[in-house]
Amino acid sequence: MTQTHEPGVHHAVDQVTVTMTVNGAVRKLDVDSRSTLVEVLRDQLLLVGTKVGCDQGACGACTVLVDGRRVLSCLTLAAQCAGKDVTTIEGLACADGSLHPVQAAFVAQDAFQCGYCTPGQIMSAVALIGEGRAGSDDEIREFMSGNLCRCGAYPNIVAAIRQAADQQVREAE
């Protein structure tokens, strides 16, 4: 059975029409009820910056922002995102292409090797700084612990977050 009315989904359906904002653009999508947000971002919206690592909520590679909060897109049903504001790695850079300070810091500090965990690391770091949790390297490590890096780029990831957080503090002054 297919229903297309919005915003409520009043009857049990296996296809859902979901309207969500993705990187500032309103998108209206027909999704299978079982689709996760990461599947929809990658396969329907072709925003392949968000990666699937473990696909079970353990590695953080799929981290995106939903309504400004960092969440795991592999464990989020797309159907639950109606009316939500989603930001992916593709949504961080400015319109003129200049990098977000966290992205620039990751480059400056050589904070990646293979790059696979990197979009998730950056999205998580952006949120971490906004949460006010970049007070010390220990705090950064603790609150970035949901993002794994098999290449072991952790020391440089911490340095990049430190650089971006310090820059944000300086710019606020």
Partner: protein, 325 residues
């Protein structure tokens, strides 16, 4: 799998109660995991309750009434929890990762399913929790992240919540709405020992929805904390943990709350430990006696035997930290 987004609580309860193959969906960190990733659960209908008016927290007398959809992050940040239940904040922030804590709800945390690797692998035939009567693969197999309290040869599955450990020490109350009306159940009575029906984990009737959790706040001057021991420094389940709160008056504990984690088939309130502590001097022999009382009759298998001593030392260490001048 069909999806429906509930618009009001009564309608959501009706939907699930009337269909034995329907289940609630909140943050998704249990349901999406179990259904889509592990294929352990297969409800025909998922009822999304995230738009119901069950967020928000308010202080009522000496308790915090927490809407069941409140996220772990939001609860940890509430000023009443920060000031008057630090053990709850510590347990919340010791659990999962920030991403998961932004998704996971308090109601869902109470109902999280065990991490037992045999339970979560549908290729394993012997799991009394999934298939009553089929046996317990963990009991005869590789056990480590399993329970030593409330366990038996039928099931040694651990309840892995950090949050529930301080909640049960504080005597939190769970408000439910179901097909036959509303009721409140103490968290201490919410879970069932596996016995020989480990598939029945709580007192919930099918269709009953957790609407609020009521958290009693500690009296002024209480010292409390949560100590979690695990294989790595962060983002890992507990091997063992302890939650405690004490009120010290002239070197003696006039009040005590104790619960243990990482060791129980349910969050393990330890009244035996509390009884040793109340009225006693705050010293190491007392703490050790309390720990011995709390873990008097463990049910260990070779892989979990280390937890017996480890959880006692963890409780002793926590009490020492809380009471040192």
């Amino acid at each position: 799998m069909q999806y429906v987004r509930a618009e009001d609580t009564a309608a959501a309860v009706d939907l699930v109660a009337s269909n034995p193959s329907a289940a609630y969906l909140a943050g998704g960190t249990t349901e999406v995991d179990l259904i889509l990733k592990d294929a352990v659960a297969a409800p025909e209908v998922l009822v999304d309750v995230t738009r119901l008016p069950l967020r928000g927290m308010r202080e009522e007398f000496d308790s915090l009434v927490v809407g069941a959809l409140t996220t772990m992050e939001d609860l940890a940040a509430h000023p009443a929890i920060v000031a008057r239940a630090p053990l709850v904040r510590e347990a919340l922030l010791a659990g999962a990762s920030t991403q998961l804590r932004n998704m996971a709800t308090i109601g869902g945390n109470l109902l999280q399913r065990t991490r037992c690797r045999y339970f979560r692998d549908p290729m394993v035939g012997a799991c009394n929790k999934r298939a009553p009567g089929s046996g317990c693969a963990a009991y005869v197999g590789e056990a480590r992240m399993h329970a030593i309290l409330g366990a038996s040869e039928h099931c040694i599955a651990l309840h892995a919540s950090d949050l529930c450990v301080p909640l049960v020490s504080l005597d939190a109350q769970v408000r439910l709405q179901g097909p036959h009306g509303s009721r409140t159940v103490p968290l201490r009575d919410f879970y069932l020992l596996p016995g020989n029906t480990p598939d029945k984990e709580t007192v919930l009737e099918h269709g009953e929805l957790i609407t609020h959790v009521v958290i009693p706040l500690l009296p002024a001057g209480a010292r409390s904390g949560y100590l979690k021991v695990r294989d790595r420094a962060s983002y890992e389940f507990a091997l063992v943990s302890a939650a405690a709160a004490v009120l010290l008056e002239a070197g003696r504990m006039s009040q005590a709350r104790v619960a243990l984690g990482g060791v129980g088939t349910m969050p393990w309130w330890a009244p035996e430990a509390e009884a040793v502590l109340v009225g006693s001097r705050a010293d190491e022999p007392t703490f050790r006696a309390a720990a011995d009382a709390a873990v008097a009759e463990p049910f260990a298998v070779p892989g979990t035997a280390f937890k017996v001593e480890l959880v006692k030392r963890t409780l002793v260490r926590l009490l020492q930290e809380l009471t040192e001048v």
